[in-house]
Amino acid sequence: MAGQAVLTGTHFINGDEACAEGALAAGCRFFAGYPITPATEVAERMSQRLPGVGGVFIQMEDEIASMAAILGGSWGGVKSMTSTSGPGFSLMMENIGLGLCTETPCVICNVQRAGPSTGLPTLVGQGDMMQARWGSHGVYEIIAIAPSSPQEMFDFTIKAFNLSEQFRLPVLIMADEVVGHMNERVVIPEADQVQLVERSKPSEGPDTYLPFQPGPDGVAPMATSGEGYYMHITGLTHDEKGYPVMEVWAQEEMTQRLVDKIQGNLDQILDFEAIHLEDAEVAVMAYGISARSARGAVLALRQAGFKVGLLKLNVVWPFPEDYVRELSRRVKAIVVPEINLGQMVLEVERLAQGRCQVKLVPHPGGGIITPARIMEAVKASLEETS
């Protein structure tokens, strides 16, 4: 496999391997990580492939160090990533916050397993969705993506790198054990068909460059260390020069900017699929592996004459607030299957504000939700709201 960064062709590989191939196709050349089931195969593939394409793989001592290493890699000008699962994701939280505060592009793939704690190492969960949004302390916005197949593991990893480069922040791939370990067809395009976004670089010289001065899109151009620019990079609240300022105005300006660069560019970030929702009386909202079961349920119900549709979230954070608010005005119920005891459903409840029924189809983790359970929930909602 040495030498070929984009493995053009048709493959039958698992989601973890597809994630690694997506990263390589996106130009990732630095991976630092610590093995953990069910994410190990991402690291394993990267360790096999990176040396052959001029990249570097490091197995770090733990996940705290892994996260720190990829922030450093990114400031060194190299697209960088790590992968982990629940316990490691918890350890990464502090340095994900450092990445958000220092606006450092990088990608973290969390192949979710059932928790809390060590939980069920080899079995599926979707219990880290709110942790993805709120797990690091303080005020910020995050971008998180949820693939539902090995093909999407490939495609969405490229997307994650593009978003991280464009908006200068860590982007989270919220995968799960089934998507990570399942083998399926993955089509990898020709290298010149892969659309890549690169971070914007400063146009002025070192004397006038301000590393945290946003451009018109709310994102500051990013110099690479070693290019001759003077940079002070800190997790302390800082001004546009990057110097610490322990004042409320600086905190207000900085956090507002971290929020605005995401909330002000939703048209470029939000990504969801609306399937059969035009005339739907009940909508199913799902992401990751649960979106596959939901699709199966919705298609079977449609065949049986039920007016039901699917809202499949590709980007889960930021949440498509306007769309779900509008959806809640025209459906009788929104059914939310997820492999936790109620996380993304809280967003739906918040936005629906009682305008329609919101029904959770929960699973504590260790297995996936069957299409049959979702079909039952949809039928129950139709009866309860008629």
């Binding site: 048709t10 039958f12 089934v178 083998n183 399926e184 596959r292 079961s293 699709r295 996936i368």
Partner: protein, 194 residues
């Protein structure tokens, strides 16, 4: 054999860690997707042990996109261990194909609706010099008794999945299993004819 009427075929392969159970599922999936141009998913279940623990692989082959990648009721069950047989025998559909390793599984009474075959896959592999190839013997056998994937695709997928220096031996193992399957089919046909 009852499998032709439905567009989705479901298989469970079960054994213990180290037998190549997951590789077997992977090869079936590769044959179906890359070489036969159909849809397939392969999922696996295993415990925390690297070797010796119970493990299984599920393969779904379909002409349409597969929403749910697991099955509770396969039409084909391949058992390479006693524990795998005990745990999964109840899942096989009536009329389904049950295949087991003659020397590794004691079946007891079988459901009379099943089409049942036993193959001394591990013994054949040992005779060929490496019992690690039992799964490939099994694949060759399956190519004879089931139309899950085309034989050519299965063989190509197998040769592309094993270490290059083992291709020749694995090719022989595949043919050994396939020949055994074809011989059984022939003798069954003879019995029916007489």
């Amino acid at each position: 054999m009852g499998m032709e009427q439905i567009s989705q075929h479901e298989v469970i392969i079960t054994g213990f860690g180290g037998q190549g159970i997951v590789l077997t599922g992977n090869i079936l999936g590769k044959a179906a997707t890359i070489h036969d141009g159909r849809h397939a998913t392969m999922t696996q279940s295993y415990g925390p042990e690297a070797r010796g623990g119970a493990c299984s692989s599920q393969v779904i082959v379909s002409d349409e996109e597969i929403a749910f990648p697991y099955t509770d009721n396969p039409q084909l069950l391949i058992c390479m261990s006693q524990e795998g047989y005990e745990n999964n025998r109840g899942a096989l559909v009536p009329g389904g194909i049950m295949v087991w390793d003659t020397d590794l599984v004691e079946t007891g009474e079988l459901d009379p609706s099943w089409i049942a075959y036993h193959v001394p896959a591990t013994r054949f592999a040992e005779e060929l010099g490496n019992k690690m190839m039992a799964n490939i013997v099994m694949l060759g056998f399956v190519s004879a008794v089931s139309e899950l994937v085309t034989t050519e695709s299965l063989k190509t997928a197998m040769l592309g999945s094993v270490p290059p220096h083992t291709k020749e031996k694995n090719g022989t193992a595949f043919e050994r299993g396939r020949d055994y399957g074809l011989a059984i089919l022939k003798s069954l046909a003879k019995q029916e004819g007489s």
